[in-house]
């Protein structure tokens, strides 16, 4: 298995992408991976914010039309992700953090599909209708899984003890930030309404 992974890592195209001094090599693949993530996670996150009732003013049904952009984001990430994995196949595939990330992505995508199914099921529902409890449950699962996936992706480069400490610290920071964000956003909305 190691020989097979080594042959992928040392193949001509993998070596070129990894070693070319051109910014169009490794850095651009990495940048495309980031764009895909921003659209996939960002836009599906907006749907989740509406489903959870955090932005109730947003009409629910038109959010369905964001799905093509989300799917493009997913495929950009899938293709660039496979390329990036091939460039460091041995270290990536022996890194448990990488499997945590992949599992989190799988759960997030499943949750997104489930959330979509429940949120957009009733075509005649009014735009300001609250989403069902099932849709909310899947929205929470999706946001949590995306968070783990983004965190896992960032931490693959670190040693195991740093990864564990970082994951715990980010978890605490995330809860605090979420509370702060909710407070600030509600404050901003209140100010706009009063004005």
């Amino acid at each position: 298995m190691q020989d097979f992974l080594e042959s992928i890592e040392n193949s001509g195209w993998a070596s070129y992408i990894r070693e070319t001094p051109s910014v169009l090599g490794y850095s651009t693949i990495l940048a495309l991976h980031t764009f895909g993530m921003a659209f996939l996670v960002g836009l599906s996150g907006v749907i989740a914010l509406r489903v959870l009732g955090i932005v109730p003013e947003l009409p629910l049904k038109p959010l369905k039309n964001l799905m093509p952009m989300i799917i493009i984001g997913f495929w950009v990430n899938a293709v660039t992700g496979v390329i990036l994995t091939c460039l460091a196949a041995r270290s990536m595939l022996s890194n448990w953090d990488f499997y945590v990330k992949l599992t989190a992505i799988a759960v997030a995508i499943t949750s997104l599909q489930k959330m979509r199914g429940y949120a957009f099921r009733v075509a005649s529902a009014p735009d300001d209708a609250p989403a069902s409890a099932e849709a909310k449950r899947w929205a929470k699962a999706m946001l949590f899984s995306w968070f783990v996936a983004v965190l896992g992706g960032r931490l693959t480069a670190y040693a195991t003890n740093i990864r564990i400490q970082s994951a715990a610290a980010v978890g605490v920071a995330a809860i605090l930030l979420l509370l702060l964000a909710r407070y600030l956003v509600r404050y901003a909305h209140r100010s706009v309404t009063v004005r």
Partner: protein, 164 residues
């Protein structure tokens, strides 16, 4: 430009840099997700949304930007503790970091012009299905381009040349 307290945090807590990076990404996703959807609407790709409703997302985008700004300052002021290079040297010699800042500035100027030209108020009145004025589309297209450029050059920063 070096901030000893920040450097001490990075020296003392091995997880600090990774946490900063993760939060920088979370901020970026919030910013691009919320600003991006508004830009796409103005460009005519999601016309089913009334613009005023989409603008309710902006505080989340602002929060994402502030998160990126705070973590970005953390990286700049504490970079000595991470790679032993003075922040001034990095800022002076890493062309990709400079380009990232240029595009953040351009995105900011674009936003100011969006408000200053009255386009912000004009698009507030757009109901579902209505087309945005051409000038608003220009601002939206520019905004999307600038933020994508910011992400692109941010990813190239480690390939920039900075020598201690």
């Amino acid at each position: 430009m070096r901030w000893p307290s920040v450097e001490q945090i990075i020296y003392k807590y091995l997880w600090a840099w990774g946490v900063g990076q993760s939060l920088h990404f979370v901020g970026m996703v919030l910013l691009i997700g919320t600003v991006g959807i508004l830009d796409l609407r103005l460009l005519g790709m999601a016309k089913q949304f009334p613009v005023a409703a989409l603008k309710k997302l902006i505080p989340w985008g602002v929060f994402g930007f502030l998160l990126c700004l705070a973590t970005g300052l953390f990286f700049v002021t504490g970079i000595w503790a991470n790679i032993n290079v003075h922040p001034y040297v990095v800022l002076q010699s890493d062309v990709f970091l400079q380009l990232k800042f240029v595009f953040i500035l351009l995105a900011g100027v674009n936003l100011l012009l969006f408000y200053a030209t009255g386009m912000s108020r004009a698009v507030d009145r757009l109901a579902a299905g209505e087309d945005a004025p051409p000038l608003a589309k220009v601002f939206a297209g520019a905004s999307l381009f600038f933020w994508i450029a910011v992400m692109y050059f941010a990813r190239l920063i480690p390939s920039g040349k900075f020598q201690p």
